[in-house]
């Protein structure tokens, strides 16, 4: 668990983070969201002391981070940045082995760990271990970045807009993979982004900051979208608020209709699809009715009325 206790950070006259108190529970993905200049990156960088707070205390599992050796603290926390920052003169395997080597792991253990991590992020070691970073695509590079951050199996992973420079298609895939990894790893992940969709998709909870480093709301995505705590939150989340909320709900959670006498429509959607996808399908049909299917069986019919009911 990471605890921010009345933490502030000033750079000269400028206040980057203002009196922040925040608890990040173990095993959660917490997204720090907000416009540029809201202090979300500064907040992240205070966790591994790349930035030192001006006042207040940050604790990890109850321990004040200031009492720990700064380099040992950083080796115990994974760190992923937008520009990736792979060592260009080291191979993929050597990059991933960075922290294990700093910690003095023996060769065999490091080798096993590196191979396991490359497999985990979907880069077969046989094919990738000996490549140089210059021989990777943007998406592959960031996968290596994530593998490197997981090097010594840290409990905490800090990610600073890790997918911000990657094209939308690959970004979506990397987001899915991160969620899949999290199912297995259960890390405490602090994730910085300015992309609302990304925050909603990844976050167990979202901390929304406004300019000047004030925490506006800290809540699960559904609550943030459904009940904005301030005018700023409402405005920042913008017009797509309700549609984005649809993205959080599954079709199976809506009250479906019986086919009645109208028969089963030709268009069908999976019960695990989101209501956002369902709305898209509904808008694309002639009569606004879409069949809901689960492993070949039709569960019922969804239409715009049942979608509306589901988010009310």
């Amino acid at each position: 668990m990471i605890t921010f206790d009345r933490v502030s950070k000033r750079f000269g006259e400028v206040v980057a983070v203002r009196d922040l108190s925040l608890e990040i529970a173990s095993g959660e993905i917490v997204v720090l969201l907000g416009p540029s200049g809201c202090g979300k990156t500064t907040t992240l960088r205070m966790v591994n002391r790349l930035v030192e707070p001006s006042s207040g205390t940050i604790r990890i599992d109850g321990r004040d981070t200031r009492e720990m050796d700064v380099n040992l603290l950083r080796r115990s926390i994974g760190y992923v940045i937008q520009q990736v920052g792979l060592f260009p003169h080291r191979t993929v395997a050597e990059n991933v082995a960075t922290v294990p080597r700093l910690l003095g792991w023996d060769r065999a253990r490091t080798h096993r760990r590196v191979e396991g991590l490359l497999d985990l992020v979907g880069l077969p070691p046989g094919q990738y271990a000996h490549r140089l970073p210059s021989e990777l695509s943007g998406g592959e590079g960031q996968r290596v970045g994530v593998a490197r951050a997981l090097g010594a199996d840290p409990d905490i992973l800090l990610m600073d807009e890790p997918f911000g420079a990657i094209d939308p298609l690959v970004r979506g895939r990397l987001q899915d993979e991160l969620l899949r990894l999290q199912q297995v790893l259960h890390k405490t992940i602090v994730f910085v982004t300015h992309d609302i969709d990304e925050a909603v998709r990844l976050g167990d909870r979202i901390a929304l900051f406004s300019a000047g480093g004030a925490l506006e709301q800290y809540a699960a995505p559904d609550l943030l979208l459904g009940a904005p705590a301030s005018a700023f939150v409402d405005e920042f989340l913008g017009d797509g608020r309700m549609v984005r909320r649809l993205g959080l709900r599954r079709v199976r959670s809506a009250r479906l209709r019986d086919p009645d006498g109208q028969g089963v429509p030709a268009t069908a959607i999976d019960a695990d699809a989101t209501l956002r996808e369902a709305l898209d399908a509904v808008l694309g049909t002639g009569d606004g009715r879409v069949a809901v299917r689960e492993s070949g069986r039709i569960l019922g019919i969804i239409d715009s009325e049942s979608i509306r009911e589901a988010v009310r």
Binding site: N71, R74, Q83, H89
Partner: protein, 216 residues
């Protein structure tokens, strides 16, 4: 043709002069690389050190070699020592600048990642910054070596028995002046080209994946 004959006829004298020349340059470059790397690393860490060492080393380059060797010979005596010290002073600027430029050219994201993973200052320098800066540092060393090989000839005025000797000996004679001068110049050019070639080969070998090597 007469030059070739002159060189062959006088190899007994020229041979040791080639040897001394190589020795002076090698010793001077070894010291210059050690001192220059230190100053360059210090410069990369502190803007004040950078300003001071660039100012001093570039001023040194403006001192005429005649005067510098002469002055140094008053303090440290004749023959090789004043020449070696003088050459070290001349070679510093390219080495310092190469080191500074090379370290500064390392992608800030790479340094950020290194810090974030818990590498201390010395580990970042030895495992990341210097390895990445090596091609640019070698470029500076290459420049300095070629320069110093030529300037070393002036060392003959303070009594160094190097390839400046045949050149200066021509000044006081009316016969065979051209062969005498060429007997010094040709080996000097050959040594310079050879050093340049070898270092540029090493530089290119090491460039793989590292900081781009600027046109030199």
């Amino acid at each position: 043709m007469s030059t070739v004959r002159y060189i062959l006829d006088n190899w007994g004298t020229l041979g040791p002069q080639v040897e001394t020349h190589l020795e002076i340059v090698a010793i001077a470059m070894a010291i210059a690389v050690a001192v220059g790397l230190g100053l360059g690393i210090g410069s990369a860490r502190s803007a004040r050190v950078a300003a001071a060492s660039l100012a001093v080393t570039s001023t040194l380059l403006t001192v005429p070699s005649f005067a510098l060797f002469g002055l140094l010979s008053i303090w440290v005596g004749l023959e090789d020592p004043p020449v070696i010290i003088g050459l070290v002073l001349y070679a510093l600027l390219p080495v310092v600048r190469g080191t500074l430029t090379g370290i500064r050219a390392v992608d800030p994201a790479v340094i950020e990642a290194a810090r974030g993973m818990g590498m201390g200052g010395a580990q970042r320098l030895l495992r990341v910054e210097l390895p990445l800066a090596v091609p640019v540092i070698l470029g500076g060393i290459r420049q300095a070596t070629v320069m110093v090989v030529a300037i070393a000839t002036v060392g003959a005025v303070v009594g160094a028995n190097d390839l400046g000797q045949p050149i200066f000996s021509a000044l006081y004679r009316s016969t065979a002046t051209t062969p005498r001068i060429l007997a010094g110049v040709i080996p000097v050019a050959a040594i310079g080209l050879l050093a340049d070639g070898v270092l540029s080969l090493v530089q290119r070998r090491l460039a793989r994946g590292r900081v781009a090597v600027g046109a030199t």
